[in-house]
Symmetry: C2
Subunit: 415 residues, 2 copies
């Protein structure tokens, strides 16, 4: 088994060549990779069965096994993801801005690849193809560090992708998997200073804490999602019900699911009981403030801890607020800058919420569940940044680039 550092070094050595691949070469490689996933379905599903059988024997929950399983439709959507990445404009060489100075210097701010992008992630094997595709299109070498539960699936996927990519003029070391899934390998990756230009840790609290403690390479935190839906006094109430039901129940285990519902007191009596009935009929249990508990007797009293909790489950905290100001203050106090929504027909209220809520994605009259690279049209996503530097919110191709200033002159010197 190759050490993490030597994998990173090979990626770093290959990065200059990957950076100069043309869009034509990269898109042809992505198409070949998509085709290869489809053509290798049997091989990939066989490898996946090893992982699934081992997980089941090890007593893994069926929810996790479901995420791990490579069905035909999931393979098809991995291939579709790669084709969708190929269809995106190439971010590399894009001139973001350009201007000419009084002395005649022409300055261009141009997107260039970061170099080596590493991602640590959990069970779902589709992430392997998404990350490989996004990194290739953005001219970066990628180092993948999946979880032990999916190691056979990931190995097979990477073999198939690399075979297709190298057949299409992409360097061998552009896509590499760290097969060692020990904690030590993750720490070695976090410390590969000078070899990794960006590390994205996609995982739970333990991983984030480990990277905050051990990280020596640049990283972007893909953190918690304590998302809010605020139903304003001027809300369209049917929309409000649809949005909170969707935001809470369409997939409660993900980071863009809603965790707290804030309701303006003027419409609480009229709307809240029915809305909570709809949520209850989907199996959602409620932790409410005093007013919410009065209006819906099945609710349990909420504590401050509830406002700060990402349940990732069919639970919802509910608070009745006296004003828009109070709603904004609540979101800014307890939110995690991931995704927060207002439901209102009042333009001024919408504009204030948009301006004053400090969040990566702010939605007006739409579900927080749209905070997602695919839903934003990025083909796939490398993660959702909950930090402010470099990238914030769903990260697509552009977030995998840095820039260089290119300055064209005619012999100018500085006075």
């Amino acid at each position: 088994m190759t050490t993490v550092t030597s994998i990173c070094r090979r990626a770093s050595d290959a990065s200059a060549q990957i950076a100069t691949l043309t869009s034509g070469v990269k898109d042809a490689a992505l198409e070949a990779m998509a085709g290869a996933l489809e053509a290798s379905a049997d091989r990939l599903q066989e490898a996946n069965r090893f992982d699934v059988d081992a997980a089941r024997e090890g007593g893994t929950s069926e929810t996790l096994i479901d995420r791990l399983t490579l069905t035909s439709s999931r393979l098809a959507s991995m291939a579709a993801g790669l084709r969708s990445i190929a269809a995106q404009p190439d971010p590399i060489g894009e001139v973001v801005e350009g201007w000419t100075r009084p002395n005649g210097l022409s300055i261009q701010k141009m997107r260039v690849p970061l170099g080596v992008v590493a991602v640590i992630y959990e069970a779902r094997p589709n992430v392997t193809a998404d990350v490989a595709g996004l990194c290739l299109k953005s001219g970066n070498a990628c180092v993948l560090r999946g979880s032990s539960i999916a190691v056979n699936s990931n190995k097979a996927i990477v073999e198939v992708l690399v075979e297709a990519a190298t057949g299409a003029e992409v360097p061998q070391d552009a896509i590499q998997l760290i097969e060692d899934t020990s904690r030590a390998s993750a720490v070695e990756l976090m410390q590969a200073k000078g070899l990794v230009d960006l590390l994205v840790p996609r995982g739970g609290k333990a991983l984030i804490e480990s990277i905050e403690e051990n990280g020596r390479v640049p990283f972007i935190i893909d953190g918690d999602g304590n998302c809010h839906v605020y139903v304003d006094s001027a809300a369209d109430l049917d929309r409000a019900t649809d949005i909170i039901v969707n935001a809470k129940t369409s997939r409660p285990s993900v980071c863009n699911a809603a965790e707290t519902l804030l309701v303006h007191e003027e419409i609480a009596d009229k709307w809240l009981p029915g809305a909570l009935d709809s949520l209850g009929s989907k199996g959602v249990t409620i932790r409410g403030d005093e007013r919410a508990c009065q209006l819906w007797t099945d609710a349990e009293p909420a504590t401050d801890e509830d406002w700060a909790t990402e349940y990732l489950d069919l639970k919802l905290a509910v608070r009745v607020v006296p004003s828009l100001d109070e709603a904004i203050a609540h979101v800014n106090r307890f939110g995690t800058s991931n995704a927060d929504a207002i439901v209102t027909e009042d333009l001024s209220a919408a504009r204030r919420f948009v301006r004053e809520v400090d969040s990566g994605s702010v939605f007006v009259n739409a579900s927080t569940r749209f905070s997602d690279g695919g839903e934003f049209g990025y083909g796939a996503e490398i993660g959702i940044s909950t930090q402010k530097l470099h990238a914030r919110g769903p990260m697509g191709l552009r977030e995998l680039t840095t820039q260089k200033y290119v300055v064209w002159g005619d012999g100018q010197v500085r006075a």
Copy 2:
């Protein structure tokens, strides 16, 4: 004296209000601040004399005392800097991209302030006004931590600026100075996690090492500048001489000064002796490779250490290279991603250098000394980033922002 943490907390508390100031308010405040600097010249120069006298008594070098001194023309240029920042377009609220999804969601990627920006810097008091102006215009609170040698000057400047700014509706805590210039105060600032959104350390190796060890807040390194000028076989040789003389001698102590000259072997015999004469007449001493030493007998032999050294002095390392490839490889091996230049009339050579040199700013036929926020037209600069995440090269107003996705819908929910 107030503790660093409480200063940062006040900045953080004020940041939401600063973020929503309109361009009109901010520009009027910047104009008032510029006017106040001019009107307070006597008071500022008196405070500055305390610092200068103390520095001279303490045996500080005249070079440093020169940088510390607030002459009338420096005060005028500080005021001009603030007016130039006011004249820049407001980065806040700028929609960088926007598009509509097939489901009708309108997505806007909008620039918003970071929140609290802190800067640790050295002697020059003009940085105080530059940073305060850039942070205000970009909607951020700023925390300034200057050096002990300039503490009276900085105090006076901040008092004048705050007085003018608060008179123009800017919150009191928008511009704050840490008067405690101990090492402990710098470390406390580096560790003010959750209160500082960006820290820019502008200083030498010791500061960078300290922040790499102690930093718990997001930071951007303003690092070394081992800058190169490569004179290609197809160079206009007069331009080449002008550019290397300017890049080396116009201000040798700064990070965008050239440290190594690379010369294509085909023109070395013809051009190098004369060019080195010109440099020698300006007091530059040469460390050369074998060929350079043959061509110019006053040169001392260079070692690998010379290629890696930022002299910040009237010294230049000179190497004769057999090809453009070798020149690019040398820059990528020894450079610090700050600023590197090619002198050539050959378009293909220029395009390859631009594409393949991994640097924050790549110049064609211009001096590396232009790698500077003011020279790029940014009014002033917060520093020069030598890292790849968030910002690279000279940082102006846009680099002091993050983004939020603003998504407008009509009740959309996710399938």
